[in-house]
């Protein structure tokens, strides 16, 4: 069990789940398209004055109630700080979200693995370049699906 924690092989298929209600269908809370950060325009109408999530690609797979607890009522962009190229574009897009689309808040959701914190850095750099100031929150999700921390930064 060595190497990069971001790509280390782990198997928790034997993990016992707590009794959960799996009955009924849930509605998607996604209210926009596209969502990939290179594809979205920061000036899109669905970002105007909204609370925005900037989410690492893996987060919604790990967090079972992502739609209900986080996506509901918010707009979203997703990215991978480890694999995506041209991330300076992301920094400019964060700046444009804050200054031009006048977003209300930005919540950066990342996995607990160290490489994921690069996405927080992208958000911070974009916010520093922006003229407007907004509250930014960091949510760290564990690889087994729990929320490890949630705080304003």
């Amino acid at each position: 069990m060595s190497g990069c924690p971001g790509s280390r092989t782990m198997d928790f298929s034997e993990k016992e789940g707590k009794s959960e209600s799996e009955t009924g269908k849930r509605q998607s809370q996604l209210r926009q398209w596209p969502i990939q950060f290179h594809l979205v325009s920061p000036l899109a109408p669905y970002f105007q004055q909204k609370d925005v999530l900037l989410v690492a690609d893996c987060v919604p797979f790990a967090l079972a109630d992502f739609h209900k607890d986080y996506l509901k009522g918010k707009s979203i962009a997703i990215a991978c700080p480890k694999l995506d190229s041209d991330q300076e574009v992301y920094i400019e897009k964060v700046k444009a979200l804050i200054d031009d689309s006048k977003i209300n808040t930005l919540t950066v959701m990342i996995m607990q693995v160290p490489c994921c914190f690069g996405l927080v850095q992208v958000a911070k750099e974009g916010a520093e370049k922006a003229t407007r100031k907004i509250p930014i929150k960091q949510v760290v999700v564990g690889i087994e699906g729990g929320v490890l921390s949630e705080e304003w930064i």
Partner: protein, 265 residues
């Protein structure tokens, strides 16, 4: 137990002093409160104890009030989040906490200022009125108004704890009116009594806000409300400009310089 939860804490402690002692053990200092009109259920909720602590506290209180009753062992609601180890404020609330720091710096200087006034042949009216100007325009207008006009609007303004905060603000204003009267008439005793009254009031008031009230409000705010409140506070600050907080920070630095020298003498 439902009945107890909806009763005012003062009445409960008067009738069952043991309850005050139990609350003290949990860092809930209701016993010395002069108002005591908060409901028991609000007090327990506002302190954000972890589920185990809250269940044990309620069990002990019920046993203290009804020693003969067969009170069931505490049931723990594990779905409730445990209290965070350190207080983490949202950005707009953090700004209000930071503003307390400058106010606390003045409060720390008050004993030296009073001692200087007592030793002087004549009351230094200019010094007293400059302190009053800080209190009225920075502590009250710049800071308390953001609480009253913005922050408190996000919670039930009729909640006892908010009413107590309003009352503290009014009591503080009354003390300062008396300080001004004392300065105008050269009455040292009047200045001393009311500036110390203000210091004691604000010291407790700020502690309550930083440790209890602000975290309680923060826990109720949605992300959308945090963003909205941040914008409103920034607009309020922009309406007075950067010069105002800078002016009062310089004033406190000047006082600290002056009275540090006085103390060294």
């Amino acid at each position: 137990m439902e009945k107890i939860l909806n009763k005012e804490i003062k009445g409960i402690i008067e009738k069952h002093p043991e309850v005050g002692k139990i609350l003290d053990e949990y860092g809930i200092g209701c016993s010395p409160c002069s108002v005591g009109s908060c409901l028991m259920k609000d007090i327990v909720g506002i302190h954000n104890l972890d589920p185990q602590q809250e269940a044990t506290l309620m069990y002990r209180i019920e046993k203290a009030i009804y020693p003969d009753r067969n009170v069931p062992k505490p049931k723990v609601d594990l779905t409730k989040k445990a209290a965070p180890k350190k207080i983490s404020y949202s950005p707009p609330v953090k700004k209000l906490v930071d503003e307390h720091v400058l106010i606390k710096r003045l409060l720390a200087l008050i004993p030296s200022i009073v001692s200087y006034i007592e030793k002087s042949a004549k009351v230094d009216k200019d010094l007293v009125l400059r302190c009053v100007d800080f209190i009225r325009n920075y502590a009250d207008k710049y800071h308390h108004m953001k609480e009253e006009d913005i922050l408190f609007k996000y919670v039930d303004e009729n909640a006892e704890i908010i009413q107590i905060m309003y009352k503290d603000h009014d009591t503080g204003r009354n003390h300062i009116r008396q300080v001004v009267e004392g300065a105008e008439s050269g009455n040292k005793a009047q200045i001393k009594e009311h500036i110390f009254g203000y210091r004691d009031l604000l010291t407790q008031h700020i502690k309550k806000e930083d440790e209890i009230l602000y975290p309680w409000i923060d826990r109720q705010l949605s992300d959308t409300q945090v963003g909205e409140m941040f914008r409103k506070c920034n607009e309020a600050d922009a309406s007075v400009g950067d010069a105002l907080p800078r002016k009062y920070e310089n004033f406190i630095k000047e006082l600290e310089g002056k009275f540090q020298k006085e103390v060294v003498k």
